[in-house]
Symmetry: C2
Amino acid sequence: MELINYFRSSASYRVRIALAIKGLAYDYTSVHLANSEHLGAAWSGTLPAALVPVLKVAVGDGDGGGGGDGGGDGGGDAVLTQSMAIIEYLDETHPEPPLLPRDPLGRARVRALAQDIACEIHPLNNLRVLRYLVRELKVSEDAKNAWYRHWVETGLATVERQLAAQPATFCHGDTPTLADCVLVPQIFNARRFEARLDHVPQTMRVFERCMALEAFSSTQPSKCPDAE
Amino acid sequence: MELINYFRSSASYRVRIALAIKGLAYDYTSVHLANSEHLGAAWSGTLPAALVPVLKVAVGDGDGGGGGDGGGDGGGDAVLTQSMAIIEYLDETHPEPPLLPRDPLGRARVRALAQDIACEIHPLNNLRVLRYLVRELKVSEDAKNAWYRHWVETGLATVERQLAAQPATFCHGDTPTLADCVLVPQIFNARRFEARLDHVPQTMRVFERCMALEAFSSTQPSKCPDAE
């Protein structure tokens, strides 16, 4: 497997955590987002949405489902996009340790927590969105940072209410799940932009618990081969 | 089951389509988003993120997994949030007809297509985001509409490349999936804001094919009890 990613991309970090929890080896390929390397011609064939991460997997090798008519280009590799879809794929093809609970209600809760971050916070603070604010809407640096913090702080408050309603060791239960893979990178982003975090104590407790695990700490941005 | 939703909310429409494909009956409860009804005290206990849709399900009744320790409040109902998580829950508890392919690569492709819309287009054009642009950033009506169309048009171009690379009756294969449940409501939004759609012919072909089905046409915004 080859992970095409960028050390500071939080969506990339989600997948690095999942790969580490599963104990899966992979080749690490870096695309420098801040330098717009992902927008260049060299990557246009590999990154369908000019977004990272992308996971390349050899078809028939660990796809667990027979046949490669699903996500590939008909060749030897399948190119998987979207971090949550990639993590669910890893969980289906390498079930242990599981990243989703067994019961449907628990799975729904974990997916909803992940989506509370991946659909409500992160998209608003993506690099290309911040660039649009500055370049097209002529928003000041201060207003851009306030925008960033607003979505982080209000979005994490939603997560906090749900964690506080059903406290557990991790986001859900006593082992890390998809929700933790998505939460932890968001906290790194929040700190980088100096967002408030004192209003989300349950969330920060879970964050610290995760960071005590090798799978989360060894894959953090500063430990990546392309870290600056 | 009770679906708390709003006729014009595209995330709500996704779930209405899935419920219709599964042939599941439900109570329709409307929350008027445009009037900010969802932000009022009456709803604060039921809508954890002040977002719709929310699906209330009786615990032990159709959860298919025994036990209700997952998504609820410990009472008789579980409150499910986030449209894609709700649809996956419906698919797990009511497997026929399936809304995801059987093979892991196919499932990854369908989830990624859904997330290309639900994580890259829709969050940027949510009502609360448009309000922030206008109220906090003092963006003009024209600039707000240009923002809306920018994310729809570039985001759908990403979807189009993937559909064109692997053409099928629907987004993936010859039956509707989660990806179609997410795509169709996005096209309704695109049309409402007069976004360009002539650059995404495969996408529009799939859209028209979906709309020929009762599950998509009978649940569209204009057919809802609270339609204006």
